[in-house]
Subunit: 496 residues, 2 copies
């Protein structure tokens, strides 16, 4: 058995390595690649995906999994966690014919440029065909797993393992019931944020982003920050973390986006070295990953303790913008709530409704309750109902996100699940580190970083996301702390 | 047979793709990677090498090669060229046990940091153990191919396919006989190059490098230039060319190095699209690659016609350095001959002797005619004999190049073979494009670029390097044009 386990680990290390290589290729594509290189890159990524799939579904993996006696292992051990993950991944992978995988990859690759064009011209009709194709392929994908009470579960599980549609529906229902009235209450509150627009010279923004990441903390010589179109975090392992940002000369968006990507980066950076080369050596799920990014962006980066420490520095870097602006006014401005059309520009309060809208529409799509050609109208109706916002065109509505063009149906809910979990984790840290806010106010992030390392990052992907959350916080996912936090922070006027 | 050929092509396309991915990883390692990422990178490169080797030596490749009837194909066709190359590569690969390949890769990886340290401290003793290990593994590698009249042929063939030690010895002998007296004659000629040292602000150098590459020409959106420690050319395909350079604030070295790497980049860039994803879709050999880089660096970049065109621009960019310096003086300075210790800083005339010295020592090493511990002394003796230069320490002698630490024994001669071929090619272009120099003097490089595309790059790796050279120039390798060129350019005083 020891030998079978060693053989299995060698194969799984290779698989993880191929994924790290693919991740680096994606980073390069989005930060460095000459534009014309995209054709080569698509071929190379497809090749790596095919090599990984062939190796994952090699019957020898199944044989080794059968041979290793998982029952004799301590269920908390790395090996037991690795075997659980490998079994789950293998069992799912072998149910999907390689031809279907390939069709899905090609359909996504083909849909993407059409979506770009459709968005540019704000023409949903153009995108309808590729979307139909992607949806049809997801239906065939779901069918590979046999009869399902809730077909959408299959898609969701790919992004948030073992999470069920029913549970998400329940959590999101709870959130919706509170958020819709809260937004109605906040939407007309007057907050001056005029000083957040203006001129923020790029060289100073770049230096400031590095300063913030250095302040938050990481091992030297292991990170880099690069500009890109749509920010993301990537890299090739715990010692090679690459975060990205998009600089706007007229706003500070990059600063908050960098804090967000720092959270993702830190999660991968603090994975324990002993498991770093194995499939369990990564974040537990997209949702838990988002809990880390939202924690640094919002619970740290939009908090009063952080700005008590950092606002003088910001004033020093951009004196033209902030010289006459007191801390309270700045704080109110970076926390201003205003319903708007675009998810990725939404504030902390309205963000949730953007996600809920997509989660609901995706289920309607998968269950055939909405015709795809009617999506723009369904979108507009929900935007009106949830946010009181009128959608002027498809580019600012159903075409705004790239996910469906990339075949990523089932992904969106992880954004809000992560946000919910971020507050649960934050409250547990405050219990364990009672002077957390004082520390942040002194610019000391070490206790926070270490708590996250010891209680979340340490576990890698050994357990399901919910088990990981339970071990970190003592509880499964729960929307109440998140809702209480929003009401505490936003329920009363935030500006003095 | 058509089916077997199609299957074979699919497999060979994958192999080529894996190599392109590895090439991109190397580029990233040397331009972008956070330093601590080196551990991951070594693992990932070893993984890709292993995957490629497994796929190359898959018996199915041998079966498909046997099944395809190469004899029925037009020998000039792409398919025939592909089959010849695949047969050669497969037959060589299957003779080497995968364990030995792995030992060689590990020994190189382990030797490299020790070489770095040995060079830093100028201590050859430190490097002796790893060098012995690398040499011993090369001996075992040679043994895989059975009894050899000339064991060194096996190593040479990996870098310059089908080139023989005997032929290189003959060519280098001819060169040595002419160069040694020429160098003795030129070594004391007074040439003022003081204005080539000074202050060359980096931002202006960077802009100038881009300007020169744009002037030489390429398809837009397909290239990038990045700084690195030791310049090289890489990329991930004909539409994704990455050249690199090293900027020195006090000299113009980067400009010439960029022209050199442009030559390598253009070769890969002008590979015909129809074969670009196959193993024949690359340069024919290291030697032919070097013929392209030396052509652009020396025959263009150190020529009077080029500087008649470009010197006014250089004066404009660096007026402080060149305002009072006439063209003739500048030309003499960039072509100054001075024996020196370091190969990569050598001028056009002395460069060849640096290569010949290494080629001779490598044969002595492989044939056991020199004890490795005596290498520093052997090195010093040859430096004195060939260049009249005294070697002060190992860092400036036997430890200067990374090749032996990387197990690259047999590589060096391709530098001089390439230089020799560059002149043969240049003379043929002058025959075919009689107004070549006039064009260059007008800043028009299109005819040169197109000639190289049509006559060299078009062939990719379909033929052996010598057959490629014969098709391009009508002749096999011949040192006479090279020697005549050196004597023409340097034999009489170059400055007015």
């Amino acid at each position: 058995m020891a030998d079978a386990l060693a053989q299995l680990k060698a194969r799984l290390t290779d698989l993880h390595g191929i994924q790290d290589v693919a991740s680096l290729l994606v980073w390069d594509q989005r930060t460095a690649m000459p534009p014309a290189g995209v054709g080569h890159r698509a071929q190379h990524l497809a090749l790596l995906q095919r090599v990984a799939h062939e190796r994952l579904t090699d019957p020898e993996i199944g044989r080794l999994l059968d041979e290793v006696d998982a029952g004799s292992l301590d269920p908390d051990s790395d090996d037991a966690g690795l075997l659980r993950l490998a079994r789950r991944t293998y069992d799912k992978a072998v149910q999907v014919p390689v031809e279907l995988r390939s069709e899905m990859a090609i359909a996504s690759a083909e849909a993407n440029p059409i979506w770009v064009k459709a968005k540019e011209t704000s023409d949903f009709q153009l995108f309808l065909g590729p979307l139909e194709r992607n949806v049809e392929l997801r239906r065939r994908y779901i069918e590979c797993f046999g009869q399902q009470d809730e077909p959408y579960d299959i898609l969701l599980d790919d992004f948030e393992p073992e999470m069920k549609t029913e549970e998400v529906t329940r959590i999101f229902g709870e959130i919706k019931a509170e958020l819709v009235p809260l937004i109605a209450e906040l939407r007309d509150r007057e907050v001056d944020d005029s000083f957040l627009s203006g001129h923020f010279p790029l060289d100073r923004q770049i230096a400031l982003d590095h300063e913030v990441v250095d302040l938050f903390g990481h091992r030297p010589d292991t990170w880099r920050i690069d500009p890109t179109e749509h920010p993301f975090a990537g890299g090739a392992g715990i010692d090679d973390i690459r975060i990205t940002t998009h600089y706007y000369e007229d706003s500070l968006k990059s600063l908050f986006s960098t804090m967000h990507e720092y959270g993702h980066g830190l999660y991968e950076h603090q994975i324990p070295r002993r498991i770093a080369n194995l499939p369990i050596g990564t974040g537990a799920s997209l949702g838990l990953h988002e809990s880390q990014s939202r924690l640094w962006e919002n619970l740290v980066g939009r908090s009063m303790p952080f700005w008590r420490f950092f606002y003088p520095r910001l004033q020093e870097v951009f004196p033209e913008q902030f010289r006459g602006v007191e801390l309270d006014r700045f704080y109110a401005a970076v926390n201003r709530v205003r319903p708007s059309l675009i998810r990725i520009r939404a504030d902390e309060v309205t963000y949730g409704m953007h996600v809920i809208l997509r989660f609901e529409l995706e289920q309607d799509i998968v269950n055939g309750r909405v015709e795809l050609r009617d999506l723009p109208q369904a979108w507009a109706e929900k935007m009106d109902e949830y946010l009181g916002v009128e959608v002027p065109d498809d580019a600012n509505g159903v075409l705004q996100d790239m996910h469906w063009a990339s075949g990523l149906i089932g992904y969106f809910s992880t954004y809000l699940l992560g946000t919910v979990m971020s507050v649960q984790i934050w409250e547990k840290i405050q219990e364990d580190v009672p002077d957390l806010e004082d520390r942040i106010e002194r610019g000391d992030f070490s206790a926070l970083r270490e708590w996250l390392g010891d209680n979340v990052h340490e576990l890698g992907r050994k357990f399901t996301p919910q088990e990981t959350l339970r071990r970190a916080t003592g509880s499964g996912i729960d929307a109440k702390p998140y809702l209480a936090y929003l009401k505490r922070k936003y329920g009363a006027p935030v500006a003095a």
